[in-house]
Amino acid sequence: MRNRTFWIAYLLLLVAQLVISNFFRVTPYVMLSILPVMVLCISTRINTFWTMLIAFASGLVVDLLSEGVLGLNALAIVPVAFLRNAIIQLIFGKELFARKEDFTLRSSGFAQVGLALLLAQALFLAVYIWADGAGMRPPLFNLYRFLASLGAGFVVSLFTLNVLASESGK
């Protein structure tokens, strides 16, 4: 039951991401994405293989249904899925996997969850901005874009986290 709630929330957030991608383009410096937090919040009971496939499919849906280069979101989100377990183990420890539990803001604390979010978001943005720029944009622009997107994405991801990783939600 808890799983079904999660996946419904996941699909709704995917739609939300489509809305963000199509309508929230205020400045070229900010690229808002909640895909990293969505992938990070996928249950630890789902292994890396499936996580990568889900992430790839999610990225591809966003690419297909929003303006932009096809494949760019898929390219950037798969590394997050590939390293998701490593990020979780690094920040929350191996016990989470041993107990087959998922992290929540309440159980793990803001600092740990925030750090995990930052890492996932940074990884996603690094690949996305690097591939989107295609070596043609000035490094300083890329740096400003990365920092601005990381800040904005972090705030939006916190709200997303409340939906996906709340005690009641899982």
């Binding site: 292994n47 890396t48 293989f49 990568m52 496939l53 790839f56 990225g59 591809l60 690419d63 280069v69 096809l70 494949g71 760019l72 898929a74 390219l75 798969v78 590394p79 590939f82 591939a131 295609a134 070596g135 043609m136």
Partner: protein
């Protein structure tokens, strides 16, 4: 157990690579900018891979390359030696301009020379088998170098002009007085022209030539430039001469021999 844990990791890595390649393919097919960027990156990557493989191949073929270089080096050394020999012959042939009527001439190369003694000498690479005779003069386009004293089959020993025992009959200017030219014993290009009668007028800067009064050297070979003069015993002038010949750079010379030497020598008392 360890193997069982490694397998899913490899599988994950493989799936990750496949998915990334698929995404990259989509990106490059739908955006020109990204296509160029990926193509450029691929070229750089392939260049590095080919460069590395070429380096490895080159490393393992070093032995063969060394062998080839060694053979090439040997061939070039032989070419160089041939070229040097041709150059030497050309220089010797160039000395032919010194040929004078009544004198036979043999070109030779100086193989040993002494310069820092009072009685200096030369050794030439030509001997009696090459036509060299004793009592022959040694000249270059810049003047007189010495006199042959002894001859072996393939070499000749000569007294250098830089020898306090050697004097040469020399003339001051075109029609000036004749005297004896000797090394001053101090400078490598310094000489003194002695016994010039006082009645002969000359100027500083006049050229000194061989007089032709000696049986050893043909006349009119320029030897040097007249300098300061002084009167000796109130009877003759003694003139300092700066020689044209640089004795520190002698290599190719002509050995000249008076064809009438023996005939004239008979009249000597």
């Amino acid at each position: 157990m360890k193997r069982q844990r490694l397998l899913p990791r490899f599988l994950n890595l493989a799936v990750f690579i496949v998915l990334e390649i698929a995404a990259l393919q989509m990106v490059t097919h739908n955006a020109d900018l990204q296509r160029v960027w990926v193509a450029r990156g691929a070229h750089v990557f392939m260049g590095k891979v080919w460069g590395a493989s070429q380096n490895i191949r080159s490393y393992f073929s070093l032995s063969a390359t060394n062998q080839e270089l060694s053979e090439e080096n040997f061939r070039l050394m032989q070419e160089l030696e041939k070229t040097r020999e041709r150059l030497r012959e050309a220089r010797v042939e160039g000395l032919d301009t010194l040929r004078r009527p009544g004198f036979s001439m043999v070109a030779a190369e100086v193989v040993k020379v002494s310069r820092n003694k009072q009685h200096n000498y030369l050794i030439l690479n030509r001997g009696f088998e090459d036509g060299i005779q004793e009592k022959s003069g040694i000249i270059t386009p810049n003047g007189v170098v010495g006199i042959i004293d002894a001859v072996s089959a393939h070499h000749a020993f000569a007294f250098s002009f830089q020898n306090s025992d050697i004097s040469i009959s020399a003339r001051l200017g075109d029609e000036g007085g004749s005297g004896l030219l000797v090394w001053d014993g101090i400078r490598s290009n310094g000489a003194v022209l002695k016994e010039i009668p006082l009645q002969y007028r000359f100027q500083k800067g006049d050229t000194v030539y061989t007089s032709g009064h000696s049986l050893l050297f043909p006349p009119d070979i320029p030897l040097g430039i007249a300098g300061e003069a002084k009167v000796v015993n109130g009877a003759t002038n003694e003139i300092a001469v700066r020689l044209f010949q640089d004795f520190s750079a002698i290599r190719y010379v002509s050995v000249v021999h008076n064809d009438a030497f023996d005939e004239i020598e008979q009249f000597e008392p």
